[in-house]
Amino acid sequence: MSSLLPEFLLILTAFFILIIDLFDAFNSESSLSPEFYALSGIGFSIISLFALWGYAPTTYFGGQFVVEEIDIFFKGAILVAGFFTVTLLPAIFNLKNLVKNHYPEFIVTLLFTLSGMLFLASSRDLVTLYVSLEMATLPLFALTAWEKSKFSAEGAIKYLILGAVGSSFLIFGFGILYAFTGSLSFESIRVALAQPHQDTLNLVLLAVAFIIPGLGFKLTLFPFHTWAPDAYQASPTPVTAFLSTASKVTGLVLATHLLLRIFSFQLKDLQPVMVVLSVATMTLGNFVAMKQENIKRFMAYSSISQAGYLLLGFLTLSPEGIASVLFYSYIYIFTNMAAFAVITLHIEQTQKQNILSLKGLSKTSPGYAAVLMLALFSLAGIPPLSGFVGKFFLFSIAAKQGYHIVVAIAAINSTVSLYYYLKIIKQMYINSPDEDTPSLKAPLVTKAGLILATMGTVFIGLIAPFYDQILWASEQWFKLWIK
């Protein structure tokens, strides 16, 4: 049962916070503020997660809950994203009247979403997959509308409706999948799909056609990304950070399940679809981000373009593919979190979301400006920051398959992305601030999170053992069922 510990610990902390909130104990001076409990909860679950490293793979509930090495890394990524999101919270929730803006409830919902995502990572059959996927998405609709501002409801509703449409497509797809084998477990479906005889080929086609939109919604791929900009803009900045990192990784987990664990034999035929989707997402994300004024909307498009790059990793059925996707998602989380930390502070303390309001940040608060610059350069894929290393490995997967033109398009896209990242750096470093802008002040927890994220942005790409471990984990996983 120990491999369930990470999820169990999260849910335990959530209930613990609920009970404390029940007795309205947070307002008394003596008690610690809720994010400490959350942070310790997530910390312990990370520790317990990596404690499992030795025994993997373990299976529970009759094959429905499996923890392989690759899942440990996926869960680790999600937990790290959650950890950083929680460090951002004190910056926006003023601790005086917790009850007024429901800070404890926010954390509880966040923790439950995290546990949902962890369940998704280990699920091995359609029911658990669907339920934990909904567990990972439904609370986000509420989190997006948490600020109760004029636009937050609008963003949340758009997110909900498209989410619901996505999940109904998914249900229909799963229904068709069920037709191939009696059982709902991935393994049996994968085997059934291995050699679909001629007449059921159309059924596979229909199943794939219904399932890809569900995946596309979660991973913000091109035609299914339309919710992302509005949801990112509407939600409070930590939630935008959470959406762009944790929810993106959950999308990757869903992609691993669907593309590698179910449709692994169809992957060869799916390559053209994937190439078109990833190129379209990349190009749209980059070219539209050029014209954005609002910071959060800009980050939305930047994360859409990153999704385009990440999809390249799924072009092959090889350990390097999934390893580089995982490696890049870790780098992406650290980089994004570093960027969002500074953006949260800026938006919270200047109440302005326009890129131009970043004017002269390097003069008012040089430290934070430097962090944001590093993060943006890493997103643009500039060496020696780790963003470049991650991107290089991803492009190498596409190059291995011979898609040199796709690598060329991706490289040109990252040059275009450099243009709009430089536009922000220009605001910070070249333009001078208006006189009275105060320098940004950050609560201790957020500052600690920020420093940790920046360290990650700079060093993850350079330390080779980290990538080797991930590669080893994905090789183990491939050995398991490629036999």
Partner: protein, 501 residues
């Protein structure tokens, strides 16, 4: 921690120290000390290179590298931290350490935010050193982009004129160049069959003609964009005009050489068949580059544009040398890199000094300055004569090699075509003479046009040291080329043997 890692990371460490320094005075002295130490280190390296036992690579087409440092980095990906130095890299290291030392001296009066300025400048130069010593394509690419990126901030913050526009254009075009390179490197990595980025191993692979036919132009154009190849050179005039002195010195002097170096070291060495297919086309392109650059410089009004166009033409000569695909041509290309680096370094530092005094770079607004600042005038003239290829100065040695190489032709291309192109590019020595003398005569000779020029001062001590050092090295290369020729020739043999194989 071999000497090469030291060479690469001394500027980086100085940059770190600078970040902790407080007053501008200490910042400048640390920067100077760092680059001075680095100059010393490169001289020591040269001494060791010539005197220590040479490990000669038995295979004629293999590189014989000295002071090799090789550690596995991403072993699963075949990426290793692989440093080495041979004749060509050593020549470039010497050039760069001289240019950065004089660059720091030339930017002695940068006051606003001098801490970031020097830190970024040294970061840029770390990238450049890294490129010259790394023999692993991945590491090469990392240092290549590190060298390009600080340009944006350096030009954007400390530049003059339309600085944001030209900074953005420069960075984006150079990044597009490196995008080309990334595609080519990945292509090389995957089509070579062996899972490594190590250049020496990739050199043993004979890629099939089809792949070489598309990878070589991508590589050559990718490097050409930085080496001011004809249609992609437009970033260089704007970029240099708005960049501050030290940055344009470093950029035109050294960064544009990365293009030539990469084209020779990677494009031609790894893909000989591709080189044979495309060299004549690129030779024609670079001929346009040479003539176009020099003719363009005649009508320029601004001193910096004037020098920028002349460096477009000279960098064109570097690529022309590479495109001749013969022994003398290659040697000429490397010599031209060294000589043009020193020349443009001197030119831009002098322009900085003159601009510091007259606060104008428009040629017609100045006149008769020789009477007021004889030292600067003479050094300007020496730089001018070096650029038009006067013997006893480095320009002539390099240009004669390139033109001889172009004239001698190579066994794979039609000789008359090469000879026509060589004659066309030799004409540039006349056009260069025209615009150099016209420009300098207008600025320095004749009666003083603007009265308040009279109380301008001549070169200060730091400026004297800068110009003296650069002029001395120009004369050294010009008068005693044997030093560089003996250094470069053994390094070119593998490339030629590979072509002849």
């Amino acid at each position: 921690m071999g000497i090469l890692s030291l060479i690469v990371f001394i500027p980086f460490l100085t940059a770190i120290f600078i970040l902790f320094a407080k007053s501008p005075k200490t910042i400048k002295s640390i920067a100077l000390a760092g680059t001075g130490l680095h100059l010393l280190a490169s001289f020591v390296l040269t001494y060791l290179f010539f005197n220590s036992p040479q490990n000669i690579n038995p295979d004629p087409t293999g590189l014989s590298l000295q002071f090799v440092e090789k550690w596995d980095w991403f072993s699963s990906f075949g990426v290793s931290y692989f440093l080495g130095v041979d004749g060509i890299s050593l020549a470039m290291i010497l050039l760069t350490s001289v240019i950065i030392f004089t660059g720091v001296l030339a930017s002695w009066n940068v006051e606003n935010r001098s801490k970031e300025f020097f830190a970024l400048l040294l970061l840029l130069v770390t990238g450049v050193f890294g490129v010259f010593v790394s023999f692993d394509l991945f590491l090469f690419f990392i240092f290549y982009e590190v060298a390009v990126l600080p340009m944006y901030l350096l030009i954007g913050i400390w530049g003059t004129g339309p600085k944001e526009y030209s900074a953005m254009k420069l960075t984006l075009m150079l990044m597009l160049g490196s995008a080309f390179l990334m595609v080519a490197f990945l292509g090389l990595f995957h089509l070579s069959g062996l899972n490594t980025f190590d250049m020496t191993k990739l050199a043993q692979v004979n890629f099939d003609l089809q792949t070489q036919r598309w990878i070589f132009p991508t590589l050559f154009v990718g490097f050409g964009i930085l080496g001011a190849l004809y249609p992609f050179h437009t970033w260089s005039p704007d970029g240099h005009a708005s960049a501050p002195t030290a940055v344009s010195m470093l950029h035109a002097g050294v960064l544009m050489k990365l293009g030539g170096y990469g084209a020779l070291r990677i494009a031609v060495y790894l893909l000989p068949e591709g080189a044979k297919e495309w060299a004549l086309f690129f030779m024609a392109l670079t001929t346009i580059n040479i003539l176009y650059g020099s003719l363009g410089a005649i009508k320029q009004k601004d001193l910096k544009y004037f020098t920028a166009y002349s460096s477009v033409s000279h960098c064109g000569m570097v690529l022309f040398g590479v495109a001749t695909l013969n022994f003398i041509g290659f040697k000429g290309a490397v010599l031209q890199m060294v000589s043009h680096g020193l020349m443009t370094g001197l030119f831009f530092s002098l322009i900085g000094m003159v601009y510091g005094r007259t606060h104008t770079r428009i040629i017609n607004e100045m006149g008769g300055l020789a009477k007021v600042m004889p030292w600067l005038a003479t050094s300007f003239y020496i730089a001018g004569f070096a650029s038009l290829g006067l013997p006893s100065l480095s320009g002539f040695v390099a240009e004669s090699q390139i033109f001889m190489g172009g004239f001698m032709g190579n066994p794979w291309h039609d000789l008359t075509w090469m000879r026509v192109l060589t004659v066309l590019s030799t004409m540039s020595i006349v056009v260069t003479a025209v615009y150099v003398l016209r420009g300098l005569a207008q600025v320095f000779m004749g009666p003083i046009t603007n009265l308040h020029f009279n109380e301008l001062t001549d070169a200060s001590l730091t400026e004297k040291v800068t110009t003296a050092l650069l002029i001395a090295s120009l004369f050294f290369v010009g008068l005693y080329p044997k030093f560089f020729v003996d250094m470069i020739e053994p390094a070119i043999n593998p490339i030629i043997n590979r072509l002849n194989m």
